[in-house]
Symmetry: D3
Amino acid sequence: MTELTHIDTDGNAVMVDIMKKNESERIAIAAGSIFMKSTTLELINKRAVKKGDVLSIAQIAGIMGSKRTPDLIPLCHPINLTSVNLILTPNINESSIRIEATCKVVGKTGVEMEALTAVTVTALTIYDMCKAADREMRISDIRLTYKAGGKSGEYREIE
Amino acid sequence: MTELTHIDTDGNAVMVDIMKKNESERIAIAAGSIFMKSTTLELINKRAVKKGDVLSIAQIAGIMGSKRTPDLIPLCHPINLTSVNLILTPNINESSIRIEATCKVVGKTGVEMEALTAVTVTALTIYDMCKAADREMRISDIRLTYKAGGKSGEYREIE
Amino acid sequence: MTELTHIDTDGNAVMVDIMKKNESERIAIAAGSIFMKSTTLELINKRAVKKGDVLSIAQIAGIMGSKRTPDLIPLCHPINLTSVNLILTPNINESSIRIEATCKVVGKTGVEMEALTAVTVTALTIYDMCKAADREMRISDIRLTYKAGGKSGEYREIE
Amino acid sequence: MTELTHIDTDGNAVMVDIMKKNESERIAIAAGSIFMKSTTLELINKRAVKKGDVLSIAQIAGIMGSKRTPDLIPLCHPINLTSVNLILTPNINESSIRIEATCKVVGKTGVEMEALTAVTVTALTIYDMCKAADREMRISDIRLTYKAGGKSGEYREIE
Amino acid sequence: MTELTHIDTDGNAVMVDIMKKNESERIAIAAGSIFMKSTTLELINKRAVKKGDVLSIAQIAGIMGSKRTPDLIPLCHPINLTSVNLILTPNINESSIRIEATCKVVGKTGVEMEALTAVTVTALTIYDMCKAADREMRISDIRLTYKAGGKSGEYREIE
Amino acid sequence: MTELTHIDTDGNAVMVDIMKKNESERIAIAAGSIFMKSTTLELINKRAVKKGDVLSIAQIAGIMGSKRTPDLIPLCHPINLTSVNLILTPNINESSIRIEATCKVVGKTGVEMEALTAVTVTALTIYDMCKAADREMRISDIRLTYKAGGKSGEYREIE
């Protein structure tokens, strides 16, 4: 049976020892959405034709948040991310904004947590900027959608 | 029509000026869930009888993450949180863990973002610790459930 | 003769003791400029009609940097900024962008360093984003332009 | 025509993907000055014969600030600096202190921003420590003076 | 019997709720020592007549470390320190350096942890700067020596 | 005679230049103890059968603190730790808890400071959680116990 790698047999937290692992090119993609009132999405879209809009601020926050992953997640290894890319796509039908983050590294461990952190910080920043207009926003469906590199091989979300 | 308070009329980002606002006791409660395979939840529950289990580590991460909110969310004001409290409740029927964070402050601005950040960092930490066993976990339904204090008055999520 | 307040009579660094000082409303304005090739300024201006342009990213970085002042400047007191505002003004004649930061707090100490830090982080971010096109950019004339609140009274730069 | 590498064709901020770049030895030197009243420079120089003087504190702040570059500059990659060196030279004729920072790394990207950040945090710290004696100090002429390593080759400031 | 205030009756970590506590002037003093070879202490003392010596660098690190206390200690409240003061005293007889930190705040909670963190970061920095000359240094006797303010009253170490 | 590597011949602080050093597998082990009243140790042990106990929270804090070493210690190089492991052992005879930290990296510089920082942050966190019950706790005997890798060879504490 699969075991939790971050807890040892005595129940202690463990930052998994990756010293002997090979460096390889690794990529992870995570996604999620923030759902809101249609009037809130309209407000965001109205601003999106000007500089300094909600989405570009949230995108910057997500990139910066991704770099803070080892400060936030106790057992994450510090790594030198080689790329963080965020795509924010308003969806008028769902009254939501879809957030997708792609992270890359050449290293001994994967970048799933960096991609997931990028998505959540982006979503939280959208929430912050719109909360005076809409307190009922909801951040959902944050998950890993793709992963490659490392010995565990490729993973692709079953849609 | 309600406007976005964090963008000025020229489209610039704004850290809202709260200098003239009164200090008051403020509270915010946020909640969310992480959904997983039933076998993953079993692994977590098996460990929960020992020290150092997944949930207590995630709880600590959430409390610490809450304190980093102004570092992560660009337009959040730095504040002196007087309390962060996190309750993690496994739900076997849903195969999920529900996370609820309560933040308090005596200050000029609310603590919604601190509560929401606490929930998301807690969920991300659970993800990190279980990802070797389950890559399909999903973080969802993160939202504000209660808010009091400040001039905008009490807010309670309609369930 | 005026003495350095941050060094004691034995030559030790001192975080000035402000416990007995009264809280008051304080404001500081700092300014500075980044000079560049005219073609670089054109590139920035071309992008400024789209979202995600150089200036709005630099503005966000400046606001976030301002909040990190006590982490960066050894003897600065941690404070709860109530406002950070940044205005970026391209100047085609000088081939420069002027950066002005206004910081406010209700506290026992001034916010000059927060305003100056906001200006410099904004300028550094512009440099970073344009450095592939122009390595000769120059950040200059960073100084305090206005200060009010506290017992030392109002200060206004002599132009 | 040269394009801005940190903005994609849709106007989004981009942390440039460096995964495929080779690691090489890289060096960057940046410089700048802080100008002050002659009496302020005298105060600094008087202290410089004792331990704990303004310049050594500012130098430490600059080294530490350099390590925070990826936390401050949104699209900078986290890197493992192998060296930061700061030289502070009082100039009595100009009534200024010249600051020069040299940063080195073995990596996939250059260290210009780390050197520029070291210079600015050093200058800001001098400002902070002397501001009770002199509010009119001015930080100027911050620029890259030398760069080597990486595919773009050597750069040397034209004096 | 006295109970642990940071663990609730279910065993969860708790950031103690201080919202209803009064603000008062609080002070804490902590002390500790780093013991080393006599030749190491001589090296430090030799440098102490020049600028940039080990002790002044360690002192700056201790002040900055004190400000990071809520980032490091999970259940510490963020506070606005009004003063941090560090005194480093070489003791030739013991071949040690004694470190004493005094922290002050006007707030709802004490500053013991800030003073203890200042002492330990100072000691660690001395260790770092001398470790090439002496690997056997030992950091010891870190404890609270004085505390005043707040409802628990004055505490003074029994010597 | 051995010289201090972190101070140059002019007395300036130096982040030692490691660019030309080879990468190698490095390990460091540090240890220390926190001494307390026997009743305090009993309180900790009583909780240790439940989740969220003092020791597991302190262990997490130590792991996270270890990752912050280059933020805290001025002249430490940023590195990508591949492992941090903490063992906490209550000692009823001494009325203490012994803390041992093992850090590993593949890099150009050792991880002594990371191991020592892990031990001290762990000890400080125990202090914080128990301070309402015991103000007389004492953190002592923090030292390097083992080191391997790098050109200086293996070091083992003489017991």
